[in-house]
């Protein structure tokens, strides 16, 4: 009996030490996290002075990591009386993908995966069936018999991604932008399964960006460099648009296919498009009520 107990103790010790050795990478990873990061509250629960401290810390980390003293991380609030809307003229878009490229740079996307929040589908004239779209065309554009449909976050009024998130890490702001708190997301990717527009991306590993290509003008809820293991998405460049600038994708568009503005301002360009063009939204039957509109001329 004594011998059996001794053997059990030896067995348990061996098992436990094998387990401890197996978990070593986890311990290394845990060392990169601070208690402050671990305990950080949800964005909406941060008091102003707490938020200021968090922004300062993220700024310092980014400055140290990329050796760039010009990095600023801000958390601009939504503007009073503003609800953003976006419209895209499919008759004008030539499928050059300058918008996707501008998004890639503006939003500090991972270089290795060539990530962008915009996918451009090449479609056959005469059909709006996404099933026959092709996102991987590689020839001069516009190709005969084709038209082009850039797709990004539709900033839905009834957003499936917001509904499914188990921890409220993603929500809709006053100006209609659906944002993600990268420091609160647990990375379950339920929102990625729920989105009907393939608008969400996951950080499968820590993003890599050359220091000289880093966009130093960053927002907490938008284009700051994301941590590993969390979701991200298009925010209509809220770090720009909340300061009166246009989104990077619009600025880069050579054809003027993109119209951006305040849906609550009756004199805005976007309202003119909605009033005067035959406008449609993607997958209207799903009831997501997008703030992103498509139209054709004529």
């Amino acid at each position: 009996m004594e011998r059996r107990v001794a053997l059990k103790v030896v067995g348990a010790t061996l098992g436990a030490s094998a387990f401890a050795a197996a978990m070593k990478p986890l311990a290394e990873w845990a060392e990169t996290l601070t208690a402050e990061q671990f305990l950080q509250k949800h964005f909406k629960e941060l008091e102003p002075e707490e938020l200021a401290r968090v922004l300062e810390r993220i700024e310092e980390d980014a400055r140290a990591k990329y050796g760039r003293t010009d990095v600023t991380v801000r958390a601009d609030a939504p503007m009073e009386g503003v609800e953003f809307g976006y419209a895209l003229n499919l008759s004008v878009c030539i499928g050059c993908r300058k918008c996707a490229e501008a998004c890639h740079r503006e939003n500090n996307h991972d270089r290795a995966s060539d990530n962008s929040y915009i996918r451009v589908l090449e479609m056959d004239q005469g059909s709006l069936d996404l099933e026959h779209g092709n996102a991987h065309y590689d020839h001069p554009v516009p190709a005969p018999g084709k038209f082009y449909m850039p797709i990004q976050c539709q900033q839905c009024r009834n957003a499936p991604c917001v509904k499914v998130c188990p921890v409220q890490a993603t929500w809709q702001e006053e100006d209609g932008i659906v944002v993600v708190d990268y420091d609160w997301c647990i990375g379950c990717r339920y929102c990625e399964a729920a989105c009907p527009y393939h608008a969400r991306r996951f950080n499968w590993q820590a993003p890599t960006i050359p220091a000289d290509e880093l966009n130093p003008d960053q927002g907490y809820l938008s284009n700051r460099v994301r941590p590993q293991g969390v979701m991200e998405k298009c925010t209509f460049c809220l770090h720009r648009t909340r300061r009166g600038q246009v989104p990077a994708c619009l600025e880069a568009c050579p054809t003027g296919a993109r119209v951006f503005g305040n849906l609550r301002d009756p004199n805005s360009d976007i309202r003119w498009v909605l009033a005067n063009k035959r406008v449609f939204v993607l997958k209207e039957e799903l009831g997501t009520k997008p703030r992103f509109y498509y139209y054709f001329d004529g």
């Binding site: 387990f19 671990f38 921890v167 990375g187 399964a193 996951f202 293991g229 799903l286």
Partner: protein, 407 residues
């Protein structure tokens, strides 16, 4: 009576002893399982450190082997209730004697599910964000928050029932029915809820036509009543062969009758889904076509899905037309278990993402990391189940008995 010997810590100490005593074969089994679990733990540690790029998943197929196994595990846990219903609702005496095996299976399966969800998280360090009160639990809007509630509830109910029954038996008392029978009935309803809610996770997504079907929850329940009985039928025979415990034939026959019906019901539901999608055509059928015959030359899932169908059909035929000899029965159980396992993963979770919501076809195959972690988690489940059964048998056959200890 010696009160000290009856104490709860004393009980736990005895349990630890009983759980770790056994033959050479037992130690070998436990060592192999531990080794697999350690390999899985190591793979997970690397995955957390280096990122989920180590998996085969992508932004197109953003759930894979982990969520497939999670879904299957919930079914296994719910399926165990197929022992509880005959035992308590139909007063099947023989089933009553072995029903605790089903409850142990439920406990082990839920543990497996919780582990699968945990390894699927990109940020497991933020798990506390899910805790109501401390984090920001999105209840009642998110179906995932419901799932967390029903799964942990089911775990607690089953832990309470088995724990209470064992403890009273150990003390030589008659269990007080008002302390556990209400929980047993609750567990029946609860079992249905865990797999329904898990189905709602998927069927509630309008953007995924393959999952967006009202038949999904009933089908989940039916498949749960395939895998639960199939597993328990084999498990009861193993217990009979490997231990001194007396396992009556009645429960095995009852469960076989259940299996005969549920396996056919599942095939019928599959046919019904397939007809609706394929006859009406259009994009709703794209995922099904992809999994059955491939789409635009992409065919990774095809062999899996046909294997699953083959397993289920052969198993149904064996149960219907072959005399219920043990080896054929066990083969039928094994095939249906494997069939549903594939159906839940490669047949349901993966094609939900292919083609993607923008109709792109990006295929998925699990990486070595995913296989290692998944095997490790199932090994942990089997470890827990083995230990649980050992303890239960020790208490039930009187080797662990507080009143007998000092007589």
């Amino acid at each position: 009576m010696n009160e000290k010997k009856l104490s709860y810590p004393g009980f736990l100490w005895k349990i630890l002893g009983a759980a770790t005593d056994g033959s050479v074969r037992f130690y070998l089994w436990m060592t192999v399982l531990t080794a697999i679990a350690v390999v899985g733990a190591s793979a997970w540690a690397y995955q957390v450190r280096d990122g989920m790029a180590l998996t085969g998943m992508s932004d197109h197929v953003s759930w894979g082997l982990y969520i497939a196994n999670f879904t299957f595990g919930v079914g296994l846990a719910a399926g165990a209730v197929m022992m509880v219903i005959p035992a308590y609702l139909y007063d099947d005496e023989e089933m009553h004697e072995v029903v605790i095996v089903g409850e142990l299976l439920a406990i082990a399966s839920i543990l497996v599910c919780i582990l699968f969800v945990t390894v699927d998280l990109g940020r497991p360090d933020r798990f506390w964000h899910l805790i109501p009160g401390i984090g920001r639990f999105n209840w009642p809007i998110s179906m995932l928050s419901w799932d967390i509630i029903v799964l942990s509830g089911y775990l607690l109910i089953n832990l309470h029932i088995t724990g209470y029954l064992l403890y009273t038996r150990y003390r030589g008392q008659k269990p007080n029915s008002s302390w556990y029978v209400p929980f047993v009935f609750l567990s029946v309803v609860w079992a249905i809820s865990i797999h329904s809610v898990t189905a709602f996770l998927y069927s509630g997504l309008g953007g995924r036509p393959f999952w967006n079907s009202a038949l999904l929850a009933p089908r989940f329940i039916v498949t749960a009543f395939v895998t639960g009985p199939a597993f328990v039928i084999v498990l009861l025979q193993l217990i009979r062969r490997l231990t001194r415990a007396k396992i009556p034939d009645g429960p095995i026959q009852t469960l076989t009758r259940v299996l005969k019906i549920t396996i056919l019901a599942n095939l019928f539901m599959f046919a019904s889904e397939a007809f609706t999608a394929l006859y009406s055509g259009g994009s709703h059928a794209a995922a099904l076509r992809y999994s059955l015959v491939g789409l635009h030359g992409s065919t990774i899932l095809v062999p899996w899905v046909w294997t699953a169908l083959g397993c289920n059909v052969v198993s149904a035929l064996l149960l219907l037309f072959v005399r219920p000899e043990a080896r054929w029965l066990n083969l039928a159980c094994g095939l249906s278990f494997l069939g549903v396992w594939i159906e839940k993963g490669m047949g349901l979770i993966i094609p939900g993402f292919i083609p993607s919501t923008l109709h792109e076809i990006v295929e998925y195959a699990p990486s070595l990391t995913e296989w290692r972690i998944s095997a490790g988690i199932w090994a942990v489940g089997l470890l827990v189940l083995t230990v649980g059964i050992k303890v239960v048998l020790a208490v039930l056959d009187g080797r662990l008995d507080a009143t007998a200890d000092h007589s």
